[in-house]
């Protein structure tokens, strides 16, 4: 069994409306030094696999076909062996 920790980020050139809106809140809060707020996705899940290679393949498929859209997002992940 492996645990995957996936980070999905919008490409830097793609507008992040949520980050922009949240940054407005920061300004109203009085924080003047904040810029480039980007809100990305962090996803965790378990993979029932014996080999790291098989687990990796499954995570890659999950990420590229469902969790992320490769046209506008990049993803990276870590695998950790669990019991």
């Amino acid at each position: 069994m492996y645990k995957a920790k996936v980070l999905i980020k919008r490409r830097p050139s793609i507008l992040d409306p949520q980050g922009k809106a949240v940054e407005k809140g920061a300004l109203h809060l009085g924080l003047k030094n904040i810029s480039n707020t980007r809100i990305d996705k962090y996803i965790e899940f378990l993979i029932d696999a014996d080999e790291e290679k098989a687990a990796k393949e499954e995570v890659n498929l999950y990420c590229s076909k469902l969790l992320a859209n490769p046209i506008m997002e990049d993803f990276e992940f870590e695998l950790e062996k669990v019991k």
Binding site: Q18, K24, G25, H28, I39
Partner: protein
């Protein structure tokens, strides 16, 4: 005599005009819109934080609107006993601002719910509910994706002890069944009030239940209670 209502307009508010229309055209009160970037409450007797999707509901519902410049004035106004009513997104903003306890989770069904619901009035001894009939169940619509009210046990205990739970979802007969709770809120809570009794937050939309043309007018009880309390 007219009551002066101030309806705050946030970017993404979409029930501001419903509130304006019902309060002014149907109930005959004086109503002003208050822009979120302003700080002047224009001597309003009551501040309405309307429904909608302020700041796109980004981060958490109400989380960014809570820091709008107008909110500093609203918080000061509320802290000195001014009447504030948060409807739907307005309720969510009051929770984020810490003016009311608890938080709002996604609806248990994961679906946006838009329908008429029935409410029992759990506390008639408030400025918002004085004019409601004891046995009457209020028919008022809900329209939200995040209306699943939640608070820890300590907070719930305090809400009960201080009679702060004002409205609960129920059947038309007042029974509390799971199927009559549209969002999974804890203890079927639909609306709460602060300890002092001047700040009300509710998920259902009383402003959409004022015009007889729409087939329901129970929202009028709430606004009339408030107006009578102020004018007396």
């Amino acid at each position: 005599m007219k009551v002066k209502f101030g309806v705050v307009v946030f970017p993404g508010s979409n029930c501001d005009h419903d509130a304006y229309y019902s309060l002014k055209k149907i109930l005959g009160h004086e109503v002003n819109f208050l822009w979120h970037k302003d700080t002047d409450l224009q001597n309003s007797d009551v501040i309405i934080l309307p429904g909608g999707f302020s700041y796109g509901d980004y981060l958490r519902t109400g989380a960014i609107a809570r820091f709008s410049p107008i909110m500093n004035s609203v918080i000061s106004f509320a802290e000195t006993g001014g009447y504030v009513m948060g409807i739907c997104n307005g309720f969510q903003i009051l929770l984020e601002a810490g003016l009311l306890p608890g938080i709002m989770l996604k609806n248990k069904s994961l679906q946006f719910v838009c329908k008429d619901v029935y409410l029992t009035v759990e506390n008639r001894d408030t400025v918002f509910t004085k004019e409601t009939n004891l046995n009457k169940k209020l028919k008022i619509p809900v329209a939200h994706g995040d209306g699943n009210y939640f608070a820890d046990e300590k907070t719930l205990k305090s809400l009960i002890e201080n009679k702060q739970i004002v409205f609960k979802y129920s059947s038309i007969n007042g029974e509390k069944k799971e199927s009559d709770n549209p969002n999974g809120s804890v203890m079927d809570i639909a609306g709460i009030i602060n300890k002092r009794g001047n700040i009300l937050g509710m998920m259902p939309h009383p402003e959409r239940s004022c015009n007889p043309v729409l087939g329901k007018t129970d929202g009028v009880f709430i606004f009339n209670s408030l107006a009578k309390s102020i004018l007396n």
